[in-house]
């Protein structure tokens, strides 16, 4: 490759973002490319994204931190209490330094305050085990290992793309069980993004394709112009426009293409055996359009050295010189090409959303087309309008230089380009519109229904037209027949003579009154009951209104607007935001995320335009769709289809949450009742920081004796079967709002820990009022005391977990009984050998001697039972009126009727027809 030759005037070429190869790009139709690394380091996309992700912290972690603070306070207060009491106690005569325990000279010389401080620190060290450091390790392990179950789940495997779910972060597993808001993209997520050209409208005449009529045009257009066609010339112009105005590439020899090859961004290849041609484009719409044109006789053959070739109806090859491509972007919502015909005419073809095309064409042409566009949109099709313009030589020259200059501009290149684009794309004439159908994802409706049943609010954020999005919402049963729609769109704002802002406020107030004030107060978490008595509200807002709402002309209103808006949204069962720019999607997510009660949000999307909201939400889910991999890469979890979201949340999320919540509480509890006896012992040893347990027990407690059962529990527990969780979406509400990690359950566990700690210590304390516990009259010492307490402790906390375990696999059996066996084995082993590296053989035969005492056995048994007694009682007393069994009984019939209701809803949606 020669960029520069000495004998040649250097050609200036502009390089923009479109020339960048991002991480993960794969070569498609070239063998090699030459490239230059533009930038490496911390500000690459990858590094920045990585940072963004690592900041996501789950609600559980926040709870852990709060609990940790409480325990830290307990730790410090324990140390303070002990230190204070120590000095109070020592002030009594003879207590401080009895003759049998004289101090060294150094100790005597030390300053009293220094001594106090070191005593305080010693107590901190002695009690530090109350802080469950090992919990963090276990939590990390649980999250890491637990996330494999998502990857492994064969229900998430999609045979079409031969892939299962992907877990990008394991930090948020439990957050899946806490979701309150789901923000979903429409295209590719709710719908399949599998575009099919349905019909077009040329010059106001409708063309609907019928397969059986051999791919030719048939009209069944609007009532008034039935059986009429547009002029042939217009028809051909329109089809040429479809063939030329795109960035599709032709891949010949489609036979060798296998779906496995479309790994990256450029998806949408449709191997067509009969044509032996497939198209590659960044957007499936374009392919659908090109293929649509093909059906009407105009085939796009490809782009060869700036020449676009098309085969027309007469099977002649037409060639057009491609002069400029005015790229598509989501802000402009249109794209154009400038081509030159053989005869030297310069033509501009433009296609784009109606809202961006209509203002740029002659107004008199609009009306005829608008009807079609609106009807198509209502039916749920994606519509595009096509316009063209003939450029005179001068016009083109101006545009050409303008574009070249703008492309070479080093600063504000995009703004300058935009300006030129806007300048060129004016005064066009509208030639037609197209309608492309995007089918609903499989089980989209069932999934949405389940989510709503689970008390999750679903918001649809889409860039599409309101009508299209609304009909999708109906099809997904987000809106139902009885749902009262509250619209807040440009159209509702503009019907009065009043100013937009005033109208906005007026509407907001009105909707607020209807949806919030008049609605019967409902408890948080149980927002949607199955009874139809409650009026359900659906809320619709569009991008323009949203930006007005977010940035009102008077800053003072911002807060008021937002509050009203949020309250309306919170009381609506479903919210639809259409015409959203990607950034607005993120804005909405952020606003909800930061609203009162900071609800947990989940964003699901498949395209690059969803990345911002995926990153913004607590949990970002990427659908492995057709619009490239960016969403998947930036997501926390990626699933092949929307329908998998149901199992991901209702089953996996629920289980993960229950598991980790129990894990956290259990860890705090077991460390509390571990250290409490040690604290109590200080009252009996002159506050001298004498440990109750041997050092080996202190270290091994969290590492070996009690770690494995809870880890196994936190990986395998299914307090309810997965099928039950999937069948009863309402069960999800039981754990809503971090139910298992709030202060009440935490208090319960703490009280339990304190109770058991007291039992352990004082039970053994009373036993030791006569330390002659063996039948040979010999007495037990302090290490025997500690070992008895420790044995009771290990057995009690392990059995407590056994009581909580509802799902005993062989692994649970193995680790629970194995841990206890290991404890016994270890104690024998540790006490059975004189360890050469130890300065003191404190536990030598202590454990064996303990077991030789009947009294020790008896006290161990009774203390274990007594400690577990409240638990047992609760388990039993809770059972007869278990919320579970009753709820099931009550839920089942009503969910049955609702299914029937939904079915009728679907039918009516399909028969929903346009009437005006």
């Amino acid at each position: 490759m020669h960029i520069y030759k000495a004998d040649q005037e250097p050609a200036v070429r502009s390089l923009g973002p479109e020339n960048l190869l991002l991480k993960g790009a794969t070569l498609k139709n070239t063998k090699k490319i030459n490239g230059v690394a533009v930038y490496t380091g911390m500000e690459t996309k990858m590094a920045l994204n990585y940072q963004g992700k690592s900041q996501k912290r789950s609600a559980v972690e926040k709870s852990i931190n709060a609990f940790l603070l409480v325990y830290l306070c307990i730790l410090i207060s324990k140390a303070v209490v002990c230190t204070t009491l120590k000095y109070v106690w020592q002030s009594k005569d003879g207590q401080d330094e009895p003759w049998y325990n004289q101090k060294t000279q150094k100790e005597k010389d030390t300053n009293m305050y220094v001594k106090m401080f070191t005593d305080f620190l010693s107590f901190m060290v002695l009690f530090n085990f109350i802080i469950p450091v090992s919990m963090y390790v276990t939590v990390e392990m649980q999250k890491f290992l637990g996330s494999f179950f998502i990857t492994w789940d064969k229900d998430f495997f999609d045979p079409e793309i031969q892939e299962g779910a992907l877990v990008n972060t394991s930090d948020l597993n439990e957050e899946l069980g806490q979701v309150e808001y789901v923000f979903t993209d429409k295209t590719g997520t709710l719908t399949q993004n599998n575009m099919e050209f349905i019909e077009c409208c040329i010059d106001g005449f409708q063309y609907r394709h019928r397969d059986e009529l051999d791919g030719f045009t048939v009209t069944d257009g609007p009532v008034s112009k039935l059986q009429q066609k547009a002029g042939l010339e217009k028809e051909e112009l329109f089809l040429r426009a479809l063939c030329l105005c795109h960035t599709v590439q032709v891949k010949e020899d489609g036979a060798e293409e296998t779906p496995g090859d479309q790994v990256d961004g450029v998806d949408g290849m449709f191997p067509q055996p009969e044509e032996e041609r497939c198209f590659i484009a960044s957007s499936p719409d374009e392919i659908a359009l090109v293929k649509g044109a093909m059906r009407y006789g105009f085939t796009f053959l490809g782009l060869e050295s700036k020449n676009m070739k098309i085969k027309n109806r007469q099977n002649d090859i037409e060639e057009y010189k491609l002069l400029h491509v005015l790229n598509f972007d989501p802000v402009r919502r249109r794209m154009s090409v400038i081509v030159q015909t053989k005869s030297g005419e310069t033509l501009l073809f433009c296609k784009g959303a109606d809202s961006s095309i209509f203002p740029r064409v002659k107004p008199e042409e609009v009306e005829r087309i608008r009807l079609h566009v609106e009807r198509n949109a209502t039916e749920g099709y994606r519509t595009l309008c096509v316009a063209f313009k003939q450029l005179s030589a001068e016009e083109y020259a101006v545009a050409d230089t303008g574009l070249r200059e703008a492309r070479l501009a080093l600063q504000d290149r995009e703004d300058k380009l935009m300006a030129i684009y806007n300048q060129v794309e004016t005064g066009m004439s509208l030639i037609g519109a197209t309608a492309v159908e995007d089918r609903l994802q499989e089980e989209a409706a069932e999934t949405m229904e389940a989510l709503q049943g689970a008390g999750i609010k679903v918001w649809v954020l889409t860039g599409d037209k309101m009508e299209t999005a609304k009909s999708t919402c109906y099809a997904c049963r987000l809106f139902q027949r009885g749902t009262e729609l509250l619209e807040l769109t440009v159209r509702t704002l503009e019907d009065g003579r009043t100013k937009r802002e005033d109208k906005l406020l007026e509407l907001l107030r009105d909707y607020h009154r209807r949806a919030v004030q008049d609605a019967p107060p409902v408890k948080a978490g149980v927002t949607r009951s199955w009874s139809t008595a409650n009026q359900e509200y659906g809320f619709i807002i569009d991008g323009a209104t949203l930006s007005l709402l977010m940035n009102p002309p008077r800053d003072a209103d911002a807060c008021l607007y937002r509050n009203l808006f949020l309250q309306i949204c919170q009381n609506s069962t479903a919210v639809l935001c259409c015409r959203m720019a990607p950034l607005q999607k993120a804005q909405i997510v952020k606003m909800v995320k930061n609203s009162k009660g900071s609800p947990i949000t989940l964003s699901i999307g498949d395209g690059a335009n969803d990345v911002s909201m995926i990153l913004e939400a607590h949990v970002g889910i990427g659908v492995k769709g057709k619009e490239g991999r960016q969403a998947v890469r930036n997501s926390d979890y990626a699933i092949p289809k929307l329908k998998h979201l149901k199992k991901l949340l209702l089953a996996h999320g629920h289980l993960y949450y229950v598991r980790i919540a129990h894990l956290v509480q259990y860890f705090f509890y077991k460390n509390l009742c571990f250290i409490l006896p040690q604290f109590l012992y200080q009252f009996f040893c002159g506050y001298s920081q004498q440990p109750l347990y041997d050092a080996a027990y202190l270290t091994m407690y969290n590492i070996c004796f009690t770690s494995m059962p809870i880890l196994a529990y936190s990986l395998l527990e299914q307090h309810m079967a997965i099928e039950v969780l999937l069948d009863n979406a309402t069960l999800y509400r039981q754990i809503a709002k971090n139910a298992m990690l709030r202060w009440r359950p935490f208090l319960y566990w703490t009280v339990l820990g304190i109770f058991q700690g007291l039992m352990f210590f004082f039970g053994v304390r009373f036993l030791f009022s006569n330390p002659a516990l063996q039948d040979n009259g010999q007495v037990f010492g302090n290490w025997s005391y500690g070992t008895i307490v420790f044995t009771v402790l290990v057995f009690t906390v392990t059995l407590k977990l056994a009581l909580d375990t509802r799902h005993w696999t062989w692994i649970n059996h193995f680790v629970i009984w194995g841990s206890l066996a290991f404890y016994v084995f270890f104690s024998f082993f540790w006490g059975g050998i004189i360890w050469p590296f130890l300065k003191q053989q404190r536990l030598y035969f202590v454990f064996a001697n303990m077991l030789s005492s009947v009294s020790a056995w008896l006290v161990i048994i009774i203390l274990i039972l007594l400690s577990l007694l409240p638990e047992l009682l609760l388990v039993v007393l809770r059972k007869p009126r278990g919320p579970h069994s009753r709820q099931m009984k009550r839920r089942l019939p009503s969910s049955g009727t609702s299914t029937i209701f939904m079915l009728s809803q679907t039918a009516s949606t399909h028969s929903f027809s346009w009437s005006d």
Binding site: Q102, F148, F149, T151, Q690, G763, F766, F768, D775, I834
Partner: protein, 341 residues
């Protein structure tokens, strides 16, 4: 987590990966728990009754001989200046004190479980390692060297504070004193005596030579190698009294085994009658407001007398029974109301 290549494969359809491992799902139903509670309760009451009755049959005789009160026999000995003080405590038994009898001494407000006190010993010395006779562990301080920088063996506060009151028990038969033989063997843990502690080996046929260059603990009247000159197997670090003392007590109020009465005429126990206990009063406790006691007790399979266990079992047992009844009522109520619904 996994790269593209791996996920492209269909996930394994195993019970483990699909979270479908066969599992036992116990549900604690009332049908199990109520009889269970009842059974446990009854069993506990049974054990409790057994324990309580056993504990009641154990005879205990307890005497405080601190001499705190002016009229107590050992009051004169509490003066720290008195040397080799002895006092006598009379004991009258109205019935046979069944043997074998265990003779304990007890101390209260005595903190053998001070942390600093507890580590103040050198285990290597006590295993007969003569190298450590020259350099004791620092934890022994301030009882590691005497004022002349000689090594104290055995060093440390525990050894130094070894209990050194001695007792003789006399049976008074018709005004004449007949000494009751006290057995000092088997009062310490078997493992302590046989495995954990070791005496240093003899040097030139003399046990005392092994301790050359060391001094006795400050409070001891005689060095370790003279603890029991009559019986070498009870001498030095293997002296049973020493071993008993070295096993630290758990609580500030404790008792330690002193002797057993198993021999001769008294192997069946102490017959009714008058006895006199001669105390060689050496051990000061009043400086820290401590108390000294002696205990005579026989033991059962559960050890010494301890009412706590029996009562605890009775209480928990009856609690279980009561709860099973309460649960039965609650359960019946809810079951009926469930049927109504």
């Amino acid at each position: 987590m996994k790269n593209e290549g791996e996920t492209a494969e269909r996930p394994d359809n195993t019970a483990f990966t699909q979270q479908r491992l066969p599992a036992w799902q116990p549900i604690l139903s009332a049908g199990i728990v109520i009889p269970g509670f009842l059974l446990i309760g009854l069993a506990f009451i049974g054990i409790g009754v057994g324990l309580f009755l056993t504990s009641q049959t154990i005879q205990v005789l307890e005497r405080d001989y601190t001499g705190f009160d002016k009229d107590s026999p050992c009051f004169s000995c509490t003066n720290p200046n008195t040397q080799n003080c002895t006092c006598e405590i009379t004991i009258a038994l109205s019935e046979l004190f069944k043997g074998p009898i265990f003779f304990y001494y007890g101390l209260s407000n005595y903190y053998q479980n001070f942390r600093k006190y507890g580590v103040s010993k050198d285990y290597y010395q006590l295993t007969g390692d003569t190298k450590s006779f020259k350099s004791p562990q620092e934890s022994c301080s301030p009882f590691d060297f005497d004022s002349n920088k000689n090594v104290i063996v055995p060093c440390g506060a525990i050894a130094n504070s070894m209990f050194n009151d001695t007792f003789e028990l006399y049976h008074i038969i018709n005004g004449t004193k007949k000494q009751v033989p006290l057995d000092g063997k088997g009062i310490s843990w078997w493992t302590d005596y046989n495995l954990k502690y070791r005496n240093p080996s003899f040097v030139n046929g003399s046990f005392a030579k092994a301790f050359d260059g060391t001094v006795k603990p400050i409070n001891w009247p005689k060095p370790a190698y003279e603890l029991d000159l009559t019986d070498q197997s009870n001498n030095g670090f293997l002296n049973q009294d020493f071993l008993v003392w070295m096993r630290r007590s758990a609580l500030p109020e404790f008792r330690k085994l002193y002797r057993r009465i198993t021999e001769g005429d008294y192997s069946a126990g102490l017959p009714a009658g008058n006895y006199s206990l001669t105390v060689h009063y050496n051990y000061p406790v009043l400086t820290f407001d401590g108390r000294k006691k002696v205990f005579f007790s026989n033991v059962s399979w559960m050890g010494g007398k301890n009412d706590f266990l029996g009562i605890a079992y009775l209480v928990v047992g009856s609690l279980c029974v009561v709860m099973s009844v309460v649960m039965l009522i609650v359960y019946a109520k809810f079951k009926f109301s469930d049927d109504d619904a």
